[in-house]
Amino acid sequence: MSSVVVLDNGGGLIKAGYGGERDPSSIIPNCLYRPLSSKKFLHPTPTTEEDLTSAAVRRPIDRGYLINPDLQRDIWNHLFSNLLHINPSNSSLLLTEPLFSLPSIERATDELVFEDFGFNSLFISDPPKLVHLYEASRRPYGLVSQAQCSLVVDCGFSFTHAAPVFQNFTLNYGVKRIDLGGKALTNFLKELVSYRSVSVMDESFIMDDVKEKLCFVSLDVARDLKIARRRGNDNFFRCTYVLPDGVTHTKGFVKDPDEAKKHLTVDDGAYLETRKDMDRTEIMDRKKVDLTKNEFDLTNERFLVPEMIFHPADLGMNQAGLAECIVRAVNSCHPLLHPLLYQSIILTGGSTLFPRFAERLEMELRPLVPDDYQVKITTQEDPILGTWRGGSLLASSPDFEAMCVTKAEYEELGSARCRRRFFH
């Protein structure tokens, strides 16, 4: 009995582990990085204590697709031999690949799996299908598994997909994509902060951290912009982030964690009370940001950055927002599926972790959906791992081996013919 390696090869993080387990045994960034102190590009380790200030990054994946197989081989090699400790020649691989991959990329992936690593057999799956599978198995009597259909909204590192899944197959004619993901958001935040306070264009890792800790989705942009304009303590959104100085701390941090949580009180109506003494605080108590201390304030950036997923047009992008993307994905399916799809929207992917993402999506989606349909948005308990867990489930199913393409078949038939088995 050979073991099955489940590998969710994301643009941002690789989630890898053994089929049948609940959690992946290693999650590493899918990149090589070179800190200032090093001349070589290094492999990231799960618990990196290194100083990542101004580290250069190389990623094998561009816009979600594998473009640099050599680099990917390096990273996988490190992963398989040092972290997972497996021998590819007696294991199978379940690999995720984004939807609508190009034939040249598929060929490169197959070469990598069979020729460079020599895996026994390979199964390629698209992420939405696995997410659906996992959700269906979690609630065997829920709608998702009874109707065998769901709409998976995957907002990841490279892009955002709304994909209808029916009977465990992704309906590829219904899939809609927004070319915006976590990476673009981080870069957008970088751009804003660099222009307004300190130049952080080189700090990918630090800005990722800032985004994860401080950004949130606004439920009412106009109102929140007004609040963000206030001064002093009335401004619930102002928050200071301290950049690493390389001496006492090598990681950046939020200066005052309570301050960062203040925005949560806004929706309770607390913001109305403080309005009266606004004039008083108007007197110049404005805290000057000290540039020598290497910290910067964020106010409206905190919600304007995730806002871009809902309104890419604000960024100058000629694409519809997430709510409209979902509606279009549903409308391209059979009309009988529409009510079912709206009732079983599954949110997954790291970029859905912004606080209040689901609420905002529901707010935007509801007016666009016909009155007599229900809208129900399910969030996953761990959106980053959703795909991997589905893969792990699939790998432990009894007929998994039969679905795989074996090395012998690949050698006999070649890449293109083998790919037909995966129906996409």
Binding site: Y173, A228, A313
Partner: protein, 172 residues
């Protein structure tokens, strides 16, 4: 921004101006503002790759700190002399190409219209054409557009900052 881009009769100054070479390239196109916007969106997908020294050092003799096996391979091949052109060609072949190049190569436009593909999966333009505008300086709602470059600002204060720092620099 888009309404003044689409108008081909937009009045442009006839004056010749001194401009940096990069700007000249941007201005050479008919509607440089769209070009700038596209370039900026592409930049959002970029990584910080550090100084591009690694690539340049690659075929130098001094690259001893590279992986050892690479070095050994080079030694073995060393008997055959390579011209610079051949080297450049080989490097170009080996260099990873970005996704857009691969996409172009795959020629997805040639597929029949009913086949779903990467290009057809894009969500398409938003149904509502009205856009919210944010000040490019401070981020709040803006009511004014820079007459020179089309970026938005909200107040005289922001306009001054805009004029001083990024007017005509084409980073929105």
């Amino acid at each position: 921004m888009e309404d003044d881009v689409s108008n081909p009769f937009r009045r442009m100054s006839m004056r010749t101006r001194k401009i940096a070479p990069k700007m000249a390239a941007a201005l050479a196109s008919s509607d440089n503002r769209t070009q700038a916007a596209i370039a900026r969106l592409e930049a959002l997908e970029n990584d910080y790759t550090g100084m591009e020294t690694v690539e340049a050092v690659d075929d130098d003799e001094a690259s001893l700190d590279d992986d050892d096996d690479v070095y050994i391979q080079k030694k073995q091949k060393g008997t055959k002399r390579k011209t610079r052109q051949a080297k450049a060609l080989e490097n170009a072949r080996k260099a990873p190409r970005n996704f857009l190049e691969l996409l172009h190569e795959a020629n997805l436009e040639a597929l029949p219209p009913h086949v779903p593909s990467y290009l057809r999966a894009a969500v398409g333009p938003p149904s509502s054409t009205c856009r919210r505008h944010f000040c490019t300086v401070c981020g709040f709602t803006s009511n004014y557009t820079c007459a020179k470059c089309g970026m938005r600002f909200c107040s005289i204060r922001c306009q001054k900052i805009h004029d001083d720092t990024r007017c005509l620099k084409f980073v929105a």
